[in-house]
Structures are given as structure tokens and as C-alpha cells.
């Protein structure tokens, strides 16, 4: 219990005998801690292992009794076939275009608005921020219908613009950046004002350079959210030529529902870019999440 329940490692205390007993007990807890950690890691990783393994098998080798945890021989041809059997190239290109456009817009409008909320004082500002805050409690699922009707009237539905409009102006970027800007002392901004710098100059030449970690978090989180979005494309993108990877993969799964090896290959390809981005920038993901507790 000692080792598991305390939030902080304990300082050595007391006499020699209890200390020795305590040390033995704490070693037991330590071992148990590693066992739990290993089991949890295995449970988290099992689906990913299965995904990759299945993509390297022939289709007949995936469901066997007993289960083959390691393929008899590694098969690569799924990774060649998938490009012929699906529009993978189109889907990936559309998704990339959308993710880049949404991220650029969200980072710009989010950080720009956050400066207004964090560093400029004017009447009505806090009420306005409350409106942003209140929408967190409103699930998107409850207003997706009026939103869809509105988008249709604006003639945006069934174009890539609909997804850009849907994702680019979220409140998330505003929250994350506002949180960060508030940690930058007002005196710094005040000093720049006295020096005659305009608010836009302060934003661009002082705040932006100082908030690179937060900007990185926002960039990565927005990119990943847009890449993974399934519901937006499901509602808005009807023409096959503008499908994204998620909706394309789902339709591929429905069409080739017994081609498990190919399905897993497509899944690996849809996850791979995210995995790479995550491994490169994991520090920023963790910091972004920990500082706002929200995601897009």
C-alpha cells in the first residue's frame, strides 16, 4: 500500500528495525508496481500489436485456432495491394489538406483571440468569454442538425470547406492559448506599451515568440483531431472524391468485410502518420492536455 497510495515518495524515517522491515515491504510493493505496469502496458498495446501483425499475414492466417501471435512468415504484399484496391491516395491527400488548413486557421484565430481575452481590457470581454466557456457543456451532437441546415444554406456542405468551417473556429484554441498568455506577466506587456509598441506588435513580437510551446501543443492537437475526425466527414462529405481517410477506411471495411488483412493494412496506414507525429512531439501533447484538460 505504501508505495501505491502515496502521491510522493516517502522520506526514510524511524529506527533501524522498522526501516528494514519497511524496506522489504516497499520492495514487495515495488515489484507489484512493475507487474501492474507491465500488465497495463500489454493491455494497452495488444490492439496495436494485433493490427500490425494482421497486416503482415495472409488473410487466411488471421483467424485461426489456436491464435497465431506471430505470423509464420511475414507477408508484405498487403501494403502493395491496398493502393490498387482503394482510393487511399485521394483519401490521404484530402485529409492532409484539411488537417493543414484547419490547423493553420485554428492556431492563428485561436492565439489572436486569446490575446484579446488575456491582455486587452474592455467592457463585455468577460461575458463574451463566458459564452465560449458555456459551449463546452453543449454537446456537438445536440446542435449538429441546425448546424448542418445552416451549412447547407451557405452551400458549404459536400465541400471540403464544410470541414474547415467546422473545425477551425473551435473554442479549444482560445482556451489553451489564453491559459498560456495569462502566465506571461502583464508588466512585460505594459512595458512594451510604454515603449510605444502597438497591441498587434506586442502579439507578434512578444507573445508569439514566448508561447512557442503552447503553439506547438495546439498545432499538434488540432492536426490530430482533424485527421481522426469521423463524424464531420460522415455528415458533410458525400462525394467520393472529397472523402477523408477515416470515412474512406470505414467504407473500405464495409465493402471488403472479409479481407481482414487488407483492412488492418489500411488501419495501420491511417494511424501511422499520427503515431509518428505523436512520437516526435509527445511532450507537447502531454503539456497541452495537462494545462487545459480539454481537447478539440
Amino acid at each position: 500500500m505504501d508505495a501505491l497510495l502515496d502521491a510522493r515518495p516517502s522520506a526514510p524515517a524511524g529506527l533501524a528495525a522498522p526501516r528494514r522491515a519497511g524496506r522489504r515491504r516497499s520492495r514487495a510493493w515495488r515489484v507489484l508496481g512493475y507487474v501492474v505496469l507491465a500488465v497495463a502496458a500489454a493491455a494497452v498495446l495488444l490492439p496495436f500489436y494485433w493490427m500490425v501483425m494482421s497486416s503482415l499475414k495472409t488473410n487466411n492466417d488471421i483467424f485461426t485456432l489456436p491464435v497465431k501471435w506471430v505470423p509464420d512468415s511475414v507477408v508484405w504484399h498487403n501494403y502493395v495491394d491496398i493502393w490498387h484496391k482503394s482510393d487511399m491516395t485521394t483519401w490521404l491527400r484530402n485529409t492532409l489538406v484539411l488537417s493543414v488548413a484547419v490547423t493553420a486557421l485554428q492556431v492563428f484565430t485561436g492565439s489572436f483571440a486569446a490575446y484579446g481575452f488575456a491582455k486587452v481590457r474592455f467592457p463585455g470581454r468577460d461575458v463574451l468569454f463566458l459564452a465560449y466557456l458555456a459551449t463546452i457543456a453543449v454537446p456537438w451532437q445536440s446542435y449538429m442538425i441546425p448546424q448542418f441546415i445552416l451549412m447547407s444554406k451557405l452551400r458549404l456542405s459536400n465541400t471540403l470547406w464544410s470541414i474547415i468551417a467546422l473545425q477551425a473556429f473551435g473554442a479549444f484554441g482560445v482556451f489553451l492559448m489564453k491559459q498560456y498568455y495569462e502566465s506571461i506577466p502583464d508588466e512585460l506587456v505594459q512595458a512594451a506599451r510604454i515603449d510605444g509598441m502597438s497591441e498587434y506588435g506586442i502579439y507578434r513580437r512578444i507573445m508569439l515568440p514566448l508561447s512557442v510551446p503552447a503553439l506547438a501543443s495546439l498545432t499538434l492537437l488540432t492536426f490530430v483531431t482533424t485527421w481522426n475526425d469521423y463524424l464531420g466527414p460522415l455528415l458533410y462529405l458525400r462525394s467520393h472524391s472529397i472523402w477523408t481517410i477515416q470515412i474512406g477506411l470505414k467504407s473500405f471495411i464495409t465493402t471488403y468485410n472479409a479481407e481482414y488483412a487488407l483492412i488492418m493494412t489500411g488501419s495501420v496506414l491511417s494511424v501511422l502518420p499520427i503515431a509518428i507525429i505523436f512520437l516526435v512531439g509527445q511532450r507537447y501533447f502531454v503539456e497541452g492536455i495537462a494545462s487545459t484538460g480539454l481537447k478539440g
Binding site: M1, G116, P123, Y230, Q246
Partner: protein, 301 residues
């Protein structure tokens, strides 16, 4: 005497200038936010009281949608299933993420690696994950039932092919996917608990369980509250996971409110009726959040 009005006028000009500058910063984001979020939320309250299908526009129909809801079996099934998911998913995820956070807060080797691993499912696309889990859950040949048989369970459940076990299967995947995310929030919360509180409790002779109850849990209160609110809203609006994994089936065993809205609105084109269900979903989330805030305030005073 004359300096007063001048100063006031100058301050008035400053306020005016700040308002202009402030709004100019907000505008690029606010225009999109207002058009795509605020306006739809307001429109929702109008559409929900109209009769609107593919033929013609919205016709005011008062409470007719809600009378229809009362007798709609699918709606009650969806509501029941949503509650089922919520009631099981919240405590499971809370327990798993808190336990992981406590474990990772120790000085163990491999902690950084595990933190990375545990968070990864949360940023992986639902389509790919749901598909893998469906294969893992496959009753006859899937590895999960293989493991269960190996452990000694001779008749393992049918998971997503059985109407009794499809919801547990979805809950397991939901918890598995989100626990790493909430774990990060708990880890951040644990960093804010001062170490000397533990020393003091130790000096007072508190054992580990007592220290957990007296120091860790109270110290985590703000985090736990926040996590519970987020989990609640997230559970009530659960959608894409179920849509991709079971599509509400088998039968209606995993049909949830969000999917019911989608079904009515986007498949059957009954915009008015679907908006009425949206209002129900919205009100549930609102009421639960308000109650949670009230309880939290009473406890902290």
C-alpha cells in the same frame, strides 16, 4: 477643477480604443464561432418545436414532438442504453485512470514509456480502433476469447454479436481508449499536492490507506471534479465509437441518444423531431453539469 472632465474624457477615449483593439483580436475567431456554434445552438430551440421533414420547411408544432417522444420505444431504449453506458463508463474510467496516475507518480523505471503508451489510444482514430477491437472480440476465433478459454472460462461471451454483451464490449473499449487521457489530468493534479502534507500525516501515524483518504483524495478534489464533469458529458454524447463498432446493434442493444438523433435527422430527414431529441440530450447534459457544480460547491464550503 477643470482636470476632472479632461481625465474622464481621456479615460473614455482609452476604453473606446481598447474595445476596438480587443474586438479586432477576437473577430477572426468569433465570426466563425458565432456563425457555426452560437447561431445553431439558438436555432436548435426553434427547430425543436417544429414539424420539419424533407417536404417543405419548418412548421411550428408546439409540443407535438415531445408527445411523440413519450410513445417512441426506440427513444426510451436509446435513453436507457445511454444511461447504461454512462453509469458503467464513468466509475470504471475514473478508477482506472486514478490508479494508473498513482502508479506512474512513483519513481519506477519505465514510467515515461508507459505514460506515452497509455495516452496513445486517445489520439488514435476510432475507425481503426473499433475495427481492431471487433476482431479481438470475435467470439469463435478472436484472441480475447482465446485468452478467456485458456484461463478456464469454457463458454466466453459473444461480445459484439450478443445483445447482452455488446454494451460491455463498447464500454471496455471506451474505457481503454480514454483512461490514458484522464490519467494525464490526474498526474497533473498529483503534482499540486505539497509533499509536506504526507510527512505530517506520517508523523501523525497515518497508514497508507489513511494518507490516501486524508491527503491524496482531498488534494485531488478539483481534478476529480473536473474529470467527472468531462466524463459525464463525454458519456452522454457517446457516438462515433458506437456508430463504428456496433452501429447500435445487435438489434437496438447499443443504440444511444446521439445515434438516435443521427438516425432521425440524417437518415430519415425528420429535422424537427431529431431536434427535439437533441434538446433532451442538451438538457440532460446541462442538468447533470449544474447538479455537479452545486454539489461541488456545497462540499468545498
Amino acid at each position: 477643477m477643470t482636470s476632472m472632465p479632461v481625465a474622464r474624457r481621456r479615460r473614455g477615449r482609452l476604453v473606446w480604443r481598447n474595445t476596438l483593439v480587443g474586438w479586432s483580436f477576437l473577430l477572426p475567431n468569433f465570426v466563425g464561432f458565432a456563425v457555426l456554434t452560437l447561431v445553431p445552438v439558438v436555432l436548435l430551440f426553434y427547430y425543436a418545436f417544429t414539424d420539419w421533414d424533407v417536404f417543405g420547411g419548418a412548421q411550428w408544432s408546439g409540443l407535438a414532438n415531445y408527445r411523440q417522444l413519450l410513445h417512441d420505444h426506440s427513444f426510451w431504449t436509446a435513453l436507457e442504453n445511454t444511461l447504461y453506458y454512462t453509469v458503467a463508463h464513468i466509475p470504471l474510467t475514473l478508477a482506472a485512470s486514478l490508479a494508473l496516475a498513482l502508479l506512474l507518480n512513483r519513481k519506477l523505471r519505465g514510467v515515461a514509456f508507459f505514460r506515452t503508451v497509455a495516452f496513445f489510444p486517445y489520439i488514435t482514430s476510432i475507425v481503426a480502433l473499433a475495427q481492431v477491437w471487433n476482431m479481438l472480440f470475435s467470439p469463435g476465433y478472436g484472441p480475447i476469447n482465446e485468452i478467456l478459454r485458456w484461463v478456464g472460462i469454457s463458454h466466453p461471451p459473444g461480445w459484439t454479436t450478443s445483445s447482452d454483451w455488446s454494451m460491455p464490449a463498447v464500454i471496455i473499449v471506451g474505457t481503454w481508449r480514454e483512461m490514458g487521457y484522464y490519467m494525464l489530468l490526474f498526474l497533473a493534479g498529483l503534482q499540486t499536492i505539497p509533499g509536506h502534507l504526507y510527512e505530517a500525516a506520517r508523523v501523525d501515524g497515518a497508514n497508507a490507506w489513511q494518507r490516501f483518504r486524508a491527503v491524496t483524495l482531498p488534494g485531488l478534489r478539483p481534478t476529480t471534479f473536473f474529470v467527472t464533469v468531462m466524463l459525464t458529458i463525454g458519456s452522454f454524447k457517446v457516438f462515433d465509437l458506437i456508430l463504428v463498432m456496433t452501429n447500435g446493434g445487435p438489434g437496438q442493444s447499443t443504440l444511444v441518444l446521439s445515434q438516435f438523433i443521427y438516425q432521425k435527422g440524417f437518415v430519415e430527414n425528420q429535422f424537427g423531431y431529431a431536434s427535439a431529441v437533441s434538446i433532451v440530450l442538451f438538457l440532460i447534459c446541462l442538468v447533470v453539469t449544474v447538479v455537479q457544480f452545486a454539489v461541488n460547491r456545497r462540499r468545498s464550503s
